[in-house]
Symmetry: C2
Subunit: 371 residues, 2 copies
């Protein structure tokens, strides 16, 4: 069986107020093309379909159109779970009607115990679950963490599992040892979020969502597909696409990168060079620029946007350097040395003798007041 | 064929910030009971399912549960159109999946031309249409009014109608001659809203929504079901329920009233009597009180609410009287007479001689300044 495993579509997401709907629509079209090209037989969506609990009308339309193409037009089964960004109850609207079309949507604990069996493989659809939900569902006050929640749920699944068939779990969670990016919202404040890999022992494939890196975890059976697009600049170097999973005698999961409409890149450089030599980089991509020698420029963002219309973030290269140096060495220096270094970082010039004297006097006054 | 015709559910509606969801849930349960009791074969919902374009999670859940009971549990066909309160595109989410369950949901012009045929009857599902939408759809700039929009649409329907079968139109509009209530929002600002009855000539039954009175129009073939509940105090004397429509050789439409969880009533009375003799009326109902002799009471709303927890609106009986008298007679009186009458209305006492003199002096000063 050939399966497309995707997750973290985050339809409706913006970066610095810039809407990404056109980029998402383009990428979903690429997925549809791959479905046809690879003769995919089943599509798995492992949560965070939308970016917000209450998605916009346009976001809902885009998702409906994607699912329509897969499930109504191509009659492909689709298995989906809700993620921590999704509003489970809103997303679940209509799920009873969708089922008969083999669009299986799981948005609550009670949806996960009865598997969907396709081609002699049992698929368990386990949505993102808050520990508080599990606590109520099992009427068990000892459940406090994600680990405890999923342990309990999977224990229940295991108790009724058909050992004669291969089994797959689809879920949305933070597996222990997984590599994070900046754009994954913490699952819950305070609670331990990690779920140990051992919880999923005995499953032939674990199709996960939540972490945005397609190689966020090293395992033979547990895989993240990664997100649909780069959703933060910390993801600039991550590949994005889908996992092509083949389950027959054995199980294989290969990450298949796709080319987005516009890439998202972090570029460090010199202000003047970026303005002058813009032919060397694609002007339409999304950028975070970290530029040197830009302090003297008035409103550099506007000037740069004239050349790079999708520039989303602009930083002064010096700032980050200064921050780092001061952070590292502050413990080892005297007060006057710290101030001298700070002034140097800010102005690129050492303090004059006169300035040094003024600061020394002020420091004395301040210390006098304190003691 | 036995049909239940309902409309204007307005799920999620509030009156003066008071949520009515529990009342709506109760009333929908009564409808389900009637469906079983009357052995209903088809349910028609003629628009304004929700009260707002973006209904709350709870409103969506309540509607889904209602439809689930009808369409999934009882396998009854359901025909529904969007109304002017509904967000057509959000409401339409999933409609392609619903169709195969015989839950037919029409939310756009293009949905209305192909009838749903059940038991040899053609049902045309015509959602609420803005003239601007019809103008674009037909690429016809002469379409400016609701009348012109629906004329054009029904003309198109008539052109392809099967004359051998009975035909029903389900729609949400303001039929000419219909009786309004306070809680129907105007369909569009400026445009003529009325659609003449003659537009629907040749249809055996026209199941309408929009006007909240179940007897809003006198016709042999055109009927409003009225709203699910009394949604404004102007509807206090209207019956609420559903229409039981029987289509066989002939067509019959009987209004069937249902008892709500709490009634909504307007009561005029005396403050002291309402506080003292509260056993004479149901304390749990929704009320608008118009009370006499209440001017001297501090915070009467709080006192009354202790007795009538669902009191939603409180008016001073005197106010409305005073307003009217001043409006009528102001042209025929001198300035001092108008002020004397106003003071009398407000305080129930005539002005003293001293007060009269002060007002006369002030009037003189004001007039002196003006001329």
């Amino acid at each position: 069986m050939k399966i497309m495993h995707i997750a973290d579509l985050h339809i409706g997401r913006t970066i610095n107020q810039h809407p990404l709907l056109a980029d998402q629509s383009y990428m979903l079209d690429q997925l549809i093309k791959e479905v046809d090209h690879q003769q995919i037989e089943l599509v798995i969506i492992a949560g965070d379909i939308y970016d917000r609990t209450l998605p916009s009308k346009e976001a809902v339309q885009l998702f409906e159109s994607f699912i329509h193409q897969l499930n109504i037009e191509r009659k492909l089964p689709v298995l989906a779970v809700s993620g921590n960004h999704d509003g489970a109850s809103r997303l679940g609207y209509g799920k009873e009607w969708f089922r008969t079309h083999q669009f299986y949507l799981s948005t609550a604990i009670e949806d996960c115990f009865k598997p969907v069996t396709l081609k002699e493989i049992d698929f368990y659809l386990l949505p993102y679950i808050e520990p508080a939900e599990a606590k109520i569902y099992f009427n068990d006050d000892t459940i406090q963490t994600h680990k405890e929640s999923y342990e309990k749920i999977v224990e229940e699944i295991n108790a009724q599992k058909n050992s004669g068939r291969k089994s797959v779990i689809v879920s949305h969670l933070f597996i222990q040892g997984g590599q994070e990016s900046d754009s994954e919202r913490p699952l819950s404040m305070g609670a331990v979020e990690f779920v140990p890999q051992s919880v999923f022992k005995g499953f032939d494939y674990v199709a996960l969502g939540h972490l945005h890196h397609p190689f966020a975890i090293q395992s033979d059976t547990i895989f993240y597909s990664g997100s649909l697009l780069k959703y933060s600049f910390s993801e600039a170097s991550q590949p994005k696409g889908y996992r092509l999973v083949t389950i027959d005698e054995g199980v294989k999961s290969i990450f298949m990168p796709l080319k987005p409409l516009r890439d998202l890149q972090v570029i460090e450089g010199d202000y003047a060079a970026m303005i002058d030599n813009h032919q060397s980089i694609e002007s339409e991509h999304y950028y975070q620029f970290i530029l040197h020698n830009m302090r003297h420029i008035k409103d550099p963002m506007t000037r740069l946007k004239a050349v790079y219309p999708n520039l989303l973030e602009l930083r002064y290269a010096e700032d980050s350097k200064a921050d780092k140096e001061i952070k590292v060495e502050v413990d080892e220096r005297s007060d006057i040395e710290i101030i001298e270094q700070f002034a140097m970082n800010m102005t690129d010039e050492p303090l004059t003798h006169n300035q040094q004297q003024i600061i020394a006097r002020l420091l004395k006054e301040v210390q006098h007041e304190t003691y």
